[in-house]
Amino acid sequence: MFFLTACATPWQTVPDRLQSGHWSVRPPGGWMHMTTQDSEMFSKDGPYLEYIYVQEKPLNQGFRFTPKKMKADMLPHEAAQLIIDNMRSDPRIHQFNLLSNEPAIVSNQTGFRLAYTYLDPNGVMIQSVYYGVVLPQFFFNLRYTATQRHYFHQEMPAFKEFFSSLHISS
């Protein structure tokens, strides 16, 4: 919900396979997607209830709430910590609770997986799973975010299938 930009295409029905930049994925049937300059957002019931966000972020691009940047030689735990620090510094996020922080394979690449919850500005508890991997030219990240109540667990199977279909080209 924090990522909508002015340079987005309208919401469209997802194709069988979506290719964007250096990655491709098989989106869940019946979902919609929106394309921006460096990301894709997918949702079934509307992004305030749940969404999957995939981004190919150039390494020289900064983050909103930290002056730190990803570096090509960053190890997965360092990249994970930068994401955590950025979120902890976000004034819109309250009661940030890191549930897990562990290594993960993201399309055959060594990355990290974060699971966390937080209270959004409207007092709604949000739950999220965030995968990230630092590649030579960009930081690839993929997250599934939904209201903790009902929607997060309801669409988790769809996200798992989405994640398993992900392919990142070298």
Binding site: F65, E78, S89
Partner: protein, 364 residues
């Protein structure tokens, strides 16, 4: 004291020092229930969003100063509870129930016990006078039954807050003097806040602080000559500095987390003046250098990490830093013993699963 806090802590209207503000009647029950829930939510969120800083020596010191001030208060209210939260921003917040929160940033800016006493005395007056309750009651007519939105644009509210701040300065000064502290030293603190606000380009805040300093100077000038303690008082500034030193490292860690490496370095350097052989401080020095874009001083950062281990061989963070440093450079043979030591020392480290993965690579 911010406006949201003022409105949110109005839940203590009933049962807490109603005579202090001369209340004649309680607000409608439904409004009270809403304020009670909102205020509880405020404090819960505040405590969950902020890590409390727990250092036994410092907590005892803070309590001692607080008790010394409270001894001179005549009130039915229970004594305030002083808490320290980890936040590099200098701030002090007091809730109507006596919950008083000072940030590590505030303690880092304060230079001596007299300034600390003035800050606490100021906050105590907000509590004693129940300013948040007063603000709520005077604003109650403008709040709809189901709408508790902050009245940010209300000029009357701004004036009420300014009056409350003046009262807190005036009565806090008196309280500080009665307890044997030197409130004149608070002028230096206000000057410091002005410099901080100016450096951040906070024009409106700078103006407010200048006005406040002018008002405070006026209050000091009205004191009898014998209470001008600047020349008479012999204090031990090092005592405050030593007792509060741990907050410098807490501020430094927070500053590293937010990427403010210059502030982190300043805090660690101040700490090392007081504790020149502290392993954690040397580790943080190395970490700050390591985090600088491009790490222009890799040899120097390694030296800091090695010094930290020399001072404290059990400092797992230094072992991790050196292991990662060598691993990233492809020096697996050098990285391996550091990773193995880290796993032995800190099996519960947050990044331990990552480290085990790196170690497997080293062992191939």
């Amino acid at each position: 004291m911010n406006i949201r806090t003022c409105i949110a802590t109005g839940w203590f209207i009933l049962g807490i020092a109603t005579t202090a503000v001369g209340l004649d009647s309680a607000p409608p029950l439904s409004m009270q229930d809403q304020l009670w829930r909102l205020a509880e939510q405020e404090q819960t969120i505040y405590q969950q969003d902020h890590q409390l800083f727990n250092d036994e020596t410092l907590n005892r010191f803070m309590k001692k100063v607080g008790d010394k001030l409270w001894r001179h208060v005549t009130s039915d209210l229970p004594p305030p509870r002083i808490n320290i939260v980890v936040d590099p921003q200098p701030q002090a917040v007091t809730y109507a129930d006596g919950g008083c929160y000072l940030t590590t940033g505030m303690l880092g800016v304060i230079q001596n016990v007299d300034q600390l006493a003035m800050v606490l005395a100021h906050e105590f007056v907000h509590y004693i006078r129940q300013h948040t309750v007063e603000l709520y009651l005077l604003s109650a007519g403008t709040i709809h039954n189901t709408n508790l939105q902050p009245i940010k644009d209300n000029i009357v509210v701004d004036q009420i807050i300014q009056n409350a701040e003046h009262q807190a300065d005036e009565e806090g000064l008196q309280l500080s003097i009665m307890a044997g502290y030197c409130p004149a030293k608070a002028l230096e603190l206000l000057s410091h806040f002005i410099i901080i606000a100016q450096s951040k380009g906070q024009i409106s805040k700078t103006d407010q602080l200048i006005n406040r300093k002018t008002y405070f100077e006026h209050l000091l000038n009205q004191l009898p000559q014998k209470t001008n303690c600047l020349q008479n008082r012999t204090d031990a500034p090092n005592n405050y500095a030593h007792v509060t030193a741990p907050i410098l490292l807490a501020n430094a860690r927070k500053a590293i987390q937010t990427g403010d490496l210059n502030q982190a370095d300043a805090d660690v350097s101040r700490y090392l003046v007081l504790n020149p052989m502290d392993a954690n401080a040397f580790f943080l020095k190395g970490k700050i250098l390591n985090e600088r874009p491009g790490n222009p001083n890799p040899v120097e950062s390694i030296a800091y990490f090695e010094k930290a281990i020399e001072l404290d061989p059990g400092l797992s963070s230094a072992h991790k830093a050196l292991g990662v440093f060598h691993f990233k450079a492809g020096r697996y043979a050098k990285a391996k013993p550091y990773f193995e030591t880290l796993i032995n020392l800190a099996p519960q480290d947050a990044s331990i699963e990552y480290i085990k993965g790196y170690l497997r690579i080293c062992q191939k």
